[in-house]
Symmetry: C2
DNA sequence: GTTGATGTTCTACGCGATGTAGAAAACATC
DNA sequence: GATGTTTTCTACATCGCGTAGAACATCAAC
């Protein structure tokens, strides 16, 4: 179960961006702040949401295992369980799946990767 | 927009498996046939569906651009637009996205690939 | 050219996921 | 224990998907 809704994604983007754990209120404010102008994560812009909305979303993200919270402190603090990169890589593996044609898929995949990335991959894969 | 429902997936699996274009009725029968015993694609087993159901699903898949149909022949014939491998590879790129941390993601991804596959990748990436 | 069989489109319902938030309950503080 | 803050419960709208009947279109045969 991987897919995220638009708001869920926006919240995760915020949690992934800041390295500190955040409270629902902080997140609510951040979501309200991000204006259409810039906002790398785009999508949800200037949404002025109720805190309860953010809390609901956070609960759902927690249930999905993407977020964990410190229940000790009074305003609970939420943090992403894994980095965006780890999460994305995991997703990629999920998509790749355990099909019998894994290698064929990889071949196609590699085919449309930029030369720079190909170079990076060569390094990562090492000699041997 | 990537994700497929269970039935949609089952239909795509059938279309990807057979190289010939199939009719809704054929697909209906195939779906009914596939018993729990084997059936590589698993999931939807022995479902005895109405033809209209299959047609609805095919329409939705067409709208998603995964399937195309010959409208000329009377029982319309449906075929997958691209191979399963191509589709999966495309999905992987979609997941990888155009984030600024693409290389970091690739690093994580490569990290958890079997040695056999790593070998394949080395060959594919070639020297250069 | 009317009838019937066969195939396709329209419309629709149920369910689960998601966006959204008020009402109510739990806490902290004075 | 009254008040303000935070969290949980409950709820509703929308949408995607599984599912299919009703209505419409086609075409062969009579």
């Amino acid at each position: 179960m991987a897919s995220l809704g638009e708001l869920e994604r926006a919240v995760m983007d915020l949690l992934w961006a800041g390295q500190e754990a955040a409270t629902a209120n902080t997140l609510r404010d951040m979501l309200a702040q991000s204006t259409a102008a810039h906002d790398g994560a785009a999508g949800h812009v200037g949404k002025d949401l109720a805190v309860t909305t953010v809390l609901t979303v956070l609960s759902r993200l927690e249930k999905k295992g993407l977020v964990e919270r410190e229940r000790g402190t009074r305003p609970h603090r939420y943090r992403a369980v894994s980095s965006r990169e780890d999460h994305t890589a995991e997703l990629m593996h999920e998509v790749l799946g355990s099909a019998p044609d894994r290698e064929a898929v990889l071949a196609r995949f590699i085919g449309s990767v930029t030369e720079g990335e190909a170079e990076t991959l060569r390094k990562l894969l090492g000699h041997s």
